[in-house]
């Protein structure tokens, strides 16, 4: 058990990349039956997304976002556009976050993801970040 945990980081990175590929292909067009496993996976992603959106509804989260000058709509839209791999990553980080630090932790996570994607020019929420391309 400890053996596999030692490689959890590297392993999840590989999985995330694989999942990113898997979704790139599955979104484009679907030929064939939608398998049960695929269906479950897909519904899980929808559920995770909804849970994340529900968290946005918390008052504390809203306040923190206003403080940082990010509008709720922007964040909501960004969540809608999260890929399954990003979502799974989020869920994992949330699960690992110590209780009590929950809300603040979530915010930091949000911003982290936004900043990284902004750096890759995927979004443009923060003007102070110049994208690397």
């Amino acid at each position: 058990m400890n053996g596999i945990r030692r490689y959890a980081k590297q392993f999840s990175l590989v999985m995330a990349i694989l999942m990113a590929f898997a979704t790139t292909f599955s979104v484009s067009a679907h030929a064939g039956m939608v398998g049960t496993g695929e269906l479950i996976q897909q519904q899980q992603v929808n559920l995770d997304r909804q849970q994340l959106l529900d968290m946005l509804e918390q008052q504390e989260v809203k306040e923190k976002l206003t403080e940082l000058g990010v509008s709720e709509d922007q964040v909501a839209e960004r969540i809608q556009n999260l890929t399954p791999a990003e979502l799974a990553d989020f869920e994992q980080q949330l699960a690992e976050a110590p209780t009590g630090e929950g809300v603040v932790g979530i915010i930091v996570l949000f911003l982290l993801v936004f900043i990284i994607t902004d750096m890759l020019c995927a979004t443009n929420l923060f003007s102070f970040i110049n994208c690397i391309r």
Partner: protein
């Protein structure tokens, strides 16, 4: 554990299933596979004590893993929680050879925590756990299906269909299972029910199209695929419709399809 579900399993057989001679103990994987080979659903629980207690109060014994050693020198151990004693702050465990052993909450918590709070209930496919949620249940049922226990999986899907009546997934799963067994009429039947009750669920229409085509109902199949394409054009389209499986008899009465949910404007 299996005995509590009314199965007559000889402890020796079970031991053989889960006991690895070289390691003097059994591993999670063996434990889980052992239960599956008895056509039981292995349902993983949320890692919190409330869920565990809810299952125990509902009469479902919970299989847990504990680490009796340290994080850096683990000693893994399986036990079955069969009850609890609130007054004395203790859980009642069947552990190694002791039955109804009382373990204080504190001790249990510490040892369970170190095993990442791994806990499962093992139930027959027509019996939902007290804290059941749709997706974990379906995943557990699908695990049964993919390990070849199709009858048990079918029952588990059916159980889900009756409990989560507002969810299309159990119906689709049953259709897919029948399709994979080449029972195309039955598959079409399940999937037609799915489209009837959830006319906006594009995956249902898509799978129905394949099942109908395999059952020899080309006209209806095209109709169903057209509906899937209307509902989710980015994922399904007529051009991509390449049915593969074919049944020899193009007999049977082709079913009449429910109306497509898309309003034509």
């Amino acid at each position: 554990m299996l005995n509590s579900q009314g199965l007559n399993t000889d402890p020796d057989i079970l031991k053989e299933l889960v006991y690895l001679p070289g390691r003097e103990g059994s591993l999670q994987v063996e434990m889980v596979a052992g239960a599956r080979s008895h056509n039981m659903v292995v349902y993983p629980l949320q890692p919190d004590i409330e869920t565990l207690l809810a299952e125990v109060s509902a009469g479902n014994p919970v299989l847990v893993m504990q680490n009796l050693g340290f994080d850096w020198w683990p000693q893994w151990h399986f036990a079955v929680v069969v009850g609890y004693d609130h007054q004395n702050q203790a859980l009642i465990l069947n552990t190694d050879t002791r039955k109804h052993h009382r373990q204080p909450y504190k001790v249990f918590h510490a040892t369970w925590d170190r095993a990442e709070r791994w806990a499962v209930v093992i139930l027959p496919p027509d019996h939902l756990p007290a804290t059941a949620e749709l997706l974990p249940w379906l995943r557990a049922a699908h695990d049964l299906e993919s390990t070849g226990h199709t009858l048990a999986a079918q029952t588990a899907y059916q159980t889900a269909e009756h409990y989560w009546i507002n969810q299309p997934a159990p119906l689709i799963a049953q259709g897919n299972l029948a399709y994979s067994q080449k029972r195309f009429d039955a598959a079409a039947n399940h999937l037609r029910r799915a489209t009837e009750r959830f006319p906006k669920f594009a995956e249902g229409w898509n799978n129905l199209a394949y099942a109908l085509s395999a059952a020899g109902c080309d006209q209806q199949a095209n109709q169903a695929m057209a509906c899937a394409a209307d509902l989710a054009g980015d994922r399904f389209s007529m051009e991509n419709f390449q049915p593969d499986a074919r049944s020899s008899d193009t007999s049977a009465a082709c079913p009449k399809l429910p109306a497509c949910a898309v309003e034509t404007d």
